[in-house]
C-alpha cells in the first residue's frame, strides 16, 4: 500500500505527559480553521524562496549522469578517457570507481542491483557520472563518455512479462514473489446469494509524478561530515538511507530541504543522484550539485504503476453487497515496488465476502514510487465504476446506493471502529450542494454535445507513522520559534503548524519563526506524504505550545504570587481570572527576561488506541462529451471531504482542487507510453507528449466542502489527512459522468478522444451497451 521507506524503526518516542498529554480537540477556535494566507507566501511569490535547485555554494561543481539508453542491456566497457580530459572536468565515477559499489534496490533476498550496476534493466539506469565547473561542461563530458552495450531481449508490457517465454528481467522470472491473497467470508456463497453479478476488467496507465522542480541534490563534505541539500519530502528518510549507503553515523550526515518544488511521492526516498552527488563531491573535494533534467525525471524517479484489475461484484436487489472479488496484475517496474490496489475493495463498503488476489511483475521499465494515494485511484477507477453499474442494474440512485453500505468499522482491521465516518454526510451534503438529483434527472440530449454527472467515493487507508517531536521556543519578547522536522511540500504545513501555535499562545502568525526540515537542527518528523503530515505533526506542535504556556503560567504564578489556576495567557499577556484583575505582558515577566527563553517539547501520541482514524471523500463531476470528436471536458466539480477539522480552509480548498486536477490528468490525458514492440524505450518522456492538465483542463466551477464530523478521538486537533483523498475518486467520478452522458463505460484510463471515439463507434454498431 505504501512503498516509501519507513524511517522510524524503533519504539515510539515518549509521549507528552500531564495536561498537554491529554488534550482533546478544541471546541472553539480563533485562529485554526480560518482562511489565512500562508506564512511563507512572500518568499514564494517574490522569488526569494531558495529551492534546492537555486543553491550555489562557493566552489560548487555541477554533476551530470550518463544513463543507459536501452530498455535492457549489459555494459561491456566504459571509456572515460576523452571525457576526463575535457575542460572543466573534475571527476568521473563509474561502477569501477572505488567506493561506488553501493547496493541498491532491495528484494526478499537482498540487494538486486548497485549504484552503477552494469546490468541495466531499464532505460535510464545509471552508468557513469561527471562533475565539472559548469552544467554545460558536465553534460558535454557525459556525452563524450563512450559505452559499449550488449543489448538484451526486453519486456515492457505487463501481460507479456507473465508469458513463459518472456525475457527475464531478473533471474528466476518476472513474478515478484507469490501473489498476495486476502480473503474474508466466502465469495462463492456471496455471488450465489446475489441478484445481480457484474464482472469487468479495468485498466489504468502508468503515470509519472513530474513535480515542477525536478529532483536535485547539493552535496558538501567537511572532512568526513556530509551536508546535503536535497529536494525531498522527508529529510530524515534521506539522512538514514544516505548514512547507510555511505557507512556513516547519522550524526555525520545532515540533510536539509526548505523550499521544495513538489514531490507527490517521488521524493520520499533516497535517490541515486543524491549518492552520486556525494561521491562526486568527495572525489573532487568541492561541493557538487546534481539536478535531474526533465527527461530524466520521467525515467528513473518513480511512477504510478499501471494495473489490470478484474473486478467481480454481487449485489442484492435491496442494495446489499454480497461479494467482491478483485484480481490485480500490476507492475512496479524493474525492481521490487508495490503495485497493490486492493485496499478500497476490502474496506470502503460493507461486504461480508471479499477475495483479493494481487500479482506484481517485473518489466524493463523504471521502478515505481508511491504516487499520491498509491493504488487507490486505480482501485477507485474499477470499484467506483462497478458501483455505478450495480446501482443502475438494481435501479437505485448511485448516491443512495452508496449511502446504505457505509461501514463504521474497518473491515480489514478486524472491524476496529473508525474514530469518525463522515462518508454518508459527504455523499448527502455533496449531492445537495451539487444539485445532483436535478442534474441526474435531466433528460439525455441527442445532439452532438452530451452532458452528464457522476459520483464516486473514497477513503484513504493508512493512518500514518503518528510519531513526531515538536519544539516550541518562546522568546523574551513574546514571539516564538517553532521547530519541526516536517517538510512543507506545498500543502501549507508551516502555515497550519504556526496557526496551531497561535491558537494556543495567542501570538500573531507574523511573530512565529519556523525552523523545519533539517536533520541537523530540527526534531524528528516522518516524511511529508501519505496524508500524514498534519496528523503526525500538528498534535505534537499543539502539545509543545501547551507545554510552553504551562511553564509560563507556572513561572508567572511564582512571580505574581497567584495560583496557576487563576492565570490565563491571552493576547501576549498573563491575565488573572480572579480579582484583583491583573494583566502583565509576557515580556514584563522578570523570570523570562532572565532566562530569555522558554522551551516546550511536544511528542505525538501513538494511536488512537483501539480505533482507527481515516479520511473519507465523495466527489461529483459534470462533463461534456462531444460525440463527434471524442473530446471530454470536465465542466463542474464538487468535492465533499471528511478530513476532520480543516486547519486552514484556504489551503484546504487549494489542496482539494489540486487533487481534482491530478484526477483529471489520470482520467483524461496522462499515460507513460513505451515503445513496447521495438525498443522498450519511452516515447513521451517530456511534458509535450506526457500531458498534464493545463489551466484549460480544470473547470472554473469547482467547489470544496469540508465535512467536519467533530472527531474527538483521532488526535488532539481533530484533523485527519487530506492530500490523498483529494485525488482518490476524482477520475472515477469523471468516468461515471461520461457514462451518464453517453452510455459508454470507460474501462481504460485515460479517456482520450482516441478511446472515446472507438467506444462510441462500437456503441453505434450495437457493441457497447
Amino acid at each position: 500500500m505504501r512503498t516509501d521507506s519507513v524511517n522510524y524503526m524503533g519504539e515510539s518516542p515518549p509521549e507528552t505527559q500531564g495536561q498537554a498529554g491529554t488534550l482533546t480537540p478544541w471546541e472553539e477556535t480563533t485562529v485554526v480553521g480560518k482562511p489565512l494566507p500562508r506564512v511563507d507566501a512572500y518568499e514564494r511569490v517574490s522569488g526569494s524562496a531558495v529551492y534546492t535547485q537555486d543553491i550555489v555554494l562557493p566552489g560548487m561543481l555541477y554533476g551530470a549522469i550518463l544513463r543507459c539508453p536501452h530498455a535492457h542491456a549489459k555494459v561491456k566497457h566504459v571509456d572515460t578517457g576523452k571525457a576526463a580530459k575535457m575542460p572543466g572536468v573534475h571527476g568521473i565515477i563509474t561502477d569501477s570507481t572505488p567506493g561506488a559499489n553501493i547496493p541498491w534496490y532491495h528484494g526478499a533476498k537482498g540487494a538486486m542491483s548497485r549504484l552503477f550496476d552494469p546490468h541495466c534493466r531499464h532505460e535510464g539506469e545509471e552508468v557513469a557520472a561527471v562533475a565539472a565547473e559548469s552544467p554545460h561542461q558536465a553534460w558535454d563530458a557525459a556525452k563524450a563518455i563512450t559505452v559499449e552495450y550488449e543489448r538484451l531481449p526486453f519486456v515492457t508490457d505487463i501481460e507479456d512479462a507473465m508469458n513463459s517465454g518472456a525475457p527475464p528481467v531478473h533471474e528466476g522470472g518476472n513474478r515478484d514473489g507469490d501473489s498476495s491473497v486476502y480473503q474474508r467470508g466466502d465469495t462463492a456463497k456471496g455471488f450465489a446469494e446475489a441478484d445481480v453479478v457484474l464482472e469487468e476488467t479495468y485498466r489504468t496507465s502508468f503515470e509519472i509524478h513530474t513535480p515542477m522542480e525536478t529532483h536535485a541534490s547539493v552535496a558538501q563534505w567537511d572532512g568526513n561530515r556530509l551536508t546535503v541539500w536535497d529536494s525531498t519530502q522527508g529529510v530524515f528518510a534521506v539522512q538514514s538511507s544516505l548514512a547507510e549507503s555511505l557507512g556513516l553515523p547519522l550524526s555525520s550526515v545532515r540533510v536539509a530541504c526548505h523550499y521544495m518544488g513538489g514531490g507527490f511521492g517521488s521524493k520520499l526516498d533516497l535517490s541515486k543522484h543524491t549518492v552520486i552527488a556525494a561521491l562526486l563531491a568527495r572525489m573532487a573535494a568541492r561541493p557538487v550539485k546534481v539536478t535531474l533534467t526533465r527527461e530524466e525525471s520521467f525515467l528513473c524517479v518513480g511512477n504510478r504503476p499501471a494495473n489490470i484489475i478484474k473486478l467481480k461484484a454481487g449485489v442484492k436487489k435491496d442494495g446489499t453487497l454480497t461479494a467482491l472479488e478483485l484480481t490485480n496484475l500490476g507492475s512496479g517496474g524493474a525492481y521490487p515496488a508495490s503495485s497493490s490496489v486492493g485496499y478500497l475493495v476490502r474496506d470502503l463498503y460493507l461486504c461480508p465476502n471479499v477475495h483479493v488476489d494481487e500479482t506484481n511483475v517485473f518489466i524493463n521499465a523504471g521502478t515505481a514510487r508511491a504516487m499520491r494515494a498509491p493504488g487507490f485511484p486505480q482501485c477507485a477507477w474499477a470499484l467506483e465504476q462497478t458501483m455505478d453499474a450495480l446501482a443502475e442494474k438494481i435501479g437505485v440512485d448511485p448516491v443512495e446506493f452508496r449511502v446504505n453500505i457505509i461501514p463504521t468499522v474497518s473491515q480489514v482491521r478486524n472491524n476496529m471502529p473508525f474514530t469518525s465516518t463522515g462518508l454518508k454526510r459527504c455523499l448527502l451534503e455533496g449531492a445537495k450542494a451539487f444539485r445532483w438529483k436535478e442534474a441526474r434527472e435531466r433528460p439525455r440530449q441527442d445532439g452532438p454535445i452530451r452532458r452528464g454527472v457522476g459520483v464516486a467515493a473514497g477513503m484513504w487507508g493508512w493512518e500514518g507513522e503518528t510519531v513526531s517531536t515538536a519544539i516550541v521556543k518562546l522568546f523574551a519578547d513574546g514571539s516564538v520559534n517553532l521547530n519541526i522536522g516536517a517538510s512543507d511540500i506545498g500543502t501549507g504545513t508551516k502555515t497550519v503548524m504556526a496557526m496551531v501555535v497561535a491558537e494556543e499562545l495567542g501570538v500573531p502568525l507574523e511573530k512565529i519563526q519556523i525552523e523545519y526540515a533539517d536533520t541537523g537542527t530540527t526534531s524528528y518528523a516522518p516524511g511529508s506524504g501519505g496524508s500524514q503530515t498534519v496528523v503526525a505533526n500538528a498534535p505534537a506542535v499543539r502539545k509543545g505550545a501547551v507545554e510552553v504556556r504551562n511553564q509560563l503560567l507556572e513561572l508567572a504564578a511564582d512571580e505574581l504570587k497567584r495560583p496557576v489556576g487563576e492565570l490565563v495567557l491571552k493576547d501576549g499577556a498573563i491575565q488573572t481570572t480572579a480579582e484583583p484583575i491583573k494583566k502583565v505582558p509576557i515580556s514584563d515577566l522578570q523570570i523570562l527576561q532572565r532566562r530569555q527563553m522558554i522551551v516546550g517539547v511536544g511528542y505525538r501520541d501513538r494511536g488512537p488506541e483501539g480505533k482507527v482514524a481515516l479520511p473519507f471523500v465523495a466527489q461529483f463531476a459534470e462533463v461534456e462529451v462531444n460525440i463527434r470528436t471524442g473530446e471530454t471536458k470536465v465542466v463542474r466539480f464538487l468535492a465533499a471531504h471528511d478530513s476532520g477539522r480543516a486547519l486552514n480552509s484556504l489551503t484546504f480548498e487549494n489542496q482539494v482542487f489540486g487533487g481534482i486536477a491530478m484526477g483529471i490528468g489520470f482520467a483524461t490525458t496522462e499515460q507513460r507510453i513505451l515503445d513496447s514492440r521495438q525498443t522498450g524505450k519511452m516515447v513521451n518522456a517530456n511534458w509535450h507528449d506526457y500531458k498534464i492538465p493545463t489551466a484549460m483542463d480544470v473547470p472554473v466551477d469547482q467547489t470544496c466542502i469540508s465535512i467536519d464530523p467533530h472527531d474527538k478521538e483521532c488526535n488532539n486537533t481533530g484533523a485527519k489527512g487530506l492530500g490523498e483523498p483529494a485525488t482518490i475518486p476524482a477520475a472515477a467520478a469523471i468516468a461515471n459522468a461520461v457514462y451518464h452522458a453517453t452510455g459508454v463505460r470507460l474501462k481504460q484510463a485515460p479517456i482520450t478522444p482516441m478511446q472515446m471515439l472507438s467506444l462510441l463507434a462500437q456503441q453505434q454498431e450495437g457493441g457497447n451497451r
Partner: protein, 325 residues
Amino acid sequence: MIPWFTYSRPNSLKDAVKQLSVPGTRLHAGGTDLLGCLRDGVVAADKLVSISHLAELRGITRTGNGSVRIGALTTLTEIAEHPYIMEHYAALSEGASSAASPQLRNQGTIGGNISQRPRCWYFRGDFHCLRKGGEACYAVAGENQFHCIVGGQSCFIVHPSDTAPALIALEARVRITGPQGTRTLPLESFFVGPQKDFTRENVLDAGDILTEILLPAPAANHRSSYRKVRARGAWDFALAGVALSVRFSNGIVQLARIVLSGVAPVPWRVREAEKIVTGKEIDDETASQAAAACVKDAVPLAKNEYKLHLVRGVVEEALLAMKQA
C-alpha cells in the same frame, strides 16, 4: 543541454542568405522549434544565423489591391490579435491562436510555424529513424496513435502546423529568397511529402529563407474557420483539425476549400470534399458526405483508426458551424 555553436546576426537579408548557404548553418527566427531540436539532437548546427531582428520581415500590411502581406517574422500573437486578420481571415487568426501557448505565440513566427519540424516522437526522441538518416520508420510497427492516416509512405509523420492548413484554405502564397534570387509560389506547393522526399518537409533549400506570406484580397460573402481537436485543452498539437474557406452566394456555396491538419505529412487539401459542397447549401447531408470524402482514401495504422471518426466528426461540425455562422 544544447550543444555548442557559433552565432551570427547579419544585418541584411542578402547577407543572411549568403551565410546560410554554408553547410552546417541553421536559420534562427523565433527559435522555439530550433532550440528544442538542437537540445534533442534532432538537428545539428555549427552555426546559427539569426534573422530575428530584421524589421523588414516583420509585420502585417495591406497592399493597394487589398491583398495582405505578412512578414515571415510576424509572431503568432500578432497575427491572432490583428483586427483585420480576425475579420477577414478568421481561419488564420483561429489557427494562430490555437497553436502552442501564449508565451510560444509571443515568440514563434508565422514562418517558423509553417516550416517547423515534425513532432513525431520517434523523430524527436532518441531513435535513429528514417527521417534522421536511419533505416526505418519506427511508427510503422510502433506507437502510431498520433501519426498520419493518409499521404504516408515510408515515413508517417503528420504536419504539425495549425496555421498552414488555414493559409492554404485562404489561398496564400509564400515568397522565398535564396541564393538563386526570389520566387513566389502557392503555399500548397511549398510542402513536400515523404513519397517525394522523406528527409524534408518543404521546398526550402540551403540558403533559402521564407520571407513573407501573401493573402489575396478578401472576397465578399466569404467565411473561414479553423477547428482543432487535441488531447489536452491547451498547448497541444492537433489530433486532427480542419480549415475551411467558403464563399457563399444566397446561402449556396460558390467556392470551398477544405484543408485538414493532423492527418497527413503535409496540410491535406481534400478537393473531393470541396466538390461535394460546391453549388449546394450546407446541410446535414452535404456535411456528412463531405466529411466522409475526407477520409475516403485514408488507411489507418494499427493505433490511429480513431482518426477516421475524428476527421469525419470535426469536418461535419465545422461545416455545420459555418452554415450557422
